[in-house]
Symmetry: C2
Subunit: 367 residues, 2 copies
């Protein structure tokens, strides 16, 4: 993907324009986990229904995905699901335990355990496709973002048996049983790719691959044992022509490797300024991010100035999609998120210009 | 502190030589949390005694600190205590809950809450000084490392009320109530400095300041709201002439700022190779680290090669103290740690040379 300085186009959704580095009609904004526990209407419809059950019901998926789009003037919907859903669909015995996260009945520790993992069969992801089709019909011009977990993040849950602080079993397998690891990652790549391409074929116009925990890895290990498998997933949707966002938390040391895996948009957390992240990878991508979600509890004038800083930094990059640096915290106030959206839309383009001008000024003496 | 290429000195403990960038008689090695749950003898003496009670008993502190020194041929003992101990000593109502961590009865959220924090009074840290004196008498030539928590990491527990995933209340106070934040941090800096200087005056020959969670901060926030207060702590022990290690997890974006706070040795986790970390900060310090503790569960030949890699990278830095990139996991096998120590001592100096030669080779065409 090349970035050209084209004039704003009125008819292309801002999200898609920014993703390909074309100046959008307004700065696009959405929030990771915008559909979720921070919304009272979400908590209401989820009452008495487990996470995985809610993901299996196209009517609920549609309702929950639309909730933040109704409430905020966001530039994208993100498919309400979970990275574990395709594993559940092929019969892996797992649950998503409130307050804990994914819990695996029989963690994968040996060749024999791999039998749990096979390619999704025709029909097993039909509820996903159906929900996407319902959504696309409702969403009109607002693009739907499809998503999946990257193989490493999925593997970390499957090998540890649940969430982990240090991923010690996962890393020990990665370096100590490289053939088992490769087979595990190849299977997971095919499963995630199937989940993601199902969403795209049914109408998702952009995708995000979450390698949430890749930041726990040393760069050399990431490149040797993880990146090739994420690349498989990204290539599968690349063939379908939709832009691909690649995101992980704490990946400052891996940014170039995340892009090299095949991303069009680099998702960045709050630890690295957007323009610095862009320079670090050598350009050639759009960026997404990166307001620290912990700052949503700060007084509005302070928060507003942080939003503006992000927009200025984004102005020094050809394409910027405004987002948080990680998911919306459950305790976040939806009214604050609404104000953030308003601010991004009201001041975004002007602040992009101001940010870009500052670069020109700084660069001047060198010329 | 300047680094000179001096010949090995037989009489200076390797830890202290490496800390000031002088070639040691062997590569020094110790492990963060080397005294702790991974040792059966530790679990035995702690039976029925709470963490904070054990820290208040000089006899137990001495026994527990010595346990890994007896078991492994490590080049340092680290004072067995907890970063919350000086807060407990001044009467803050807190507990360290097994499996959870520090829990604060009345979290600090307002000016009034600050009344909990005052300078330690004469006598309140006597049990610390007594334990250090007992230890120094037992340790002979093995240096004792004193330690404390940096103000930010302490503040995160006090403000959140316990461990946190996102530090949202802490960050909201930092940016939203800067005067309250400054007062909190100033008080914590004085408390940590008192804890640390007590250890040094009683005989600790090197110190480590743990800002374990500083990596959660954006660099601009770290510099504006955290670094000056950590600098207060580091300066207080700097006046006493002992080398200072400064360490935090996931601090790849902050390494230069950690050094600028006043460190002689930069503690590095496994995400950044040691020589890269050293280049990034512009040299002028020794480095400590950085084997990924999650790899302790890998097969020995794989683990041994990782240890050698760390030693080679350390060879490209004037002073290297071998350590893990974070604490010893409770499930770690002590026999594996013993083999790591043996390997570091047996091959360390040769691998330092090999690492340094590779740099010379790589640099050759440029000359």
């Amino acid at each position: 993907m090349t970035h050209r300085a084209e004039p704003p186009t009125g008819d292309e959704p801002p999200l898609l324009a920014a993703a390909r580095g074309v100046e959008p009609s307004r700065v696009p904004v959405w929030f990771m986990r915008q559909a979720g526990r921070s919304l009272p209407e979400y908590r209401r419809v989820r009452e008495g229904i487990s996470m995985l059950d809610s993901c299996a019901r196209p009517d609920l998926v549609t309702e929950i995905t639309l909730q933040p789009v109704r409430r905020y003037d966001v530039d994208a919907a993100i498919f309400y699901s979970d990275i574990m859903v395709p594993l559940k669909a092929i019969g892996v015995d797992l649950d998503i335990v409130p307050g804990t996260g994914p819990v695996i009945a029989s963690p994968i520790r040996s060749d024999a355990d791999l039998a749990q993992l096979r390619d999704p069969q025709p029909g097993e992801l039909d509820h996903v496709a159906e929900a996407v089709r319902l959504l696309v019909a409702e969403l009109g011009d607002v693009p739907l973002i499809g998503f999946c977990g990257a193989p490493f993040t999925l593997a970390s849950y499957l090998v540890e048996g649940g969430p982990s602080k240090d991923y010690s079993r996962t890393k020990a397998m990665m370096v100590g049983a490289p053939e088992l690891w490769r087979e595990l990652m190849e299977r997971l790549a095919r499963i995630s790719a199937a989940f993601l391409t199902t969403q795209v074929r049914a109408g998702a116009r952009l995708v995000q691959v979450f390698d949430s925990w890749a930041g726990a890895l040393a760069p050399a290990d990431y490149r040797a044992s993880v990146q090739p498998h994420t690349a498989t997933v990204l290539a599968a949707v690349g063939e379908l022509g939709v832009p691909r966002i690649h995101f992980g938390v704490g990946t400052g040391e891996l940014l170039g490797d995340l892009v090299a895996a095949g991303a069009d948009v680099l998702g960045v957390d709050w630890r690295v300024p957007l323009d610095e992240a862009w320079r670090r990878v050598g350009g050639g991508v759009a960026v997404q991010g990166n307001l620290d979600p912990a700052l949503l509890g700060a007084p509005w004038p302070v928060l507003a100035e942080r939003v503006r800083e992000v927009l200025r930094a984004g102005g020094r990059v050809p394409g910027h999609i405004f987002n948080l640096g990680h998911g919306v915290p459950p305790a976040a106030d939806p009214d604050v998120l609404a104000r953030v959206v308003e601010l991004v839309h009201a001041e975004g383009l002007a602040l992009r210009e101001a940010g870009a001008e500052r670069v020109a000024d700084e660069a001047a003496p060198v010329r």
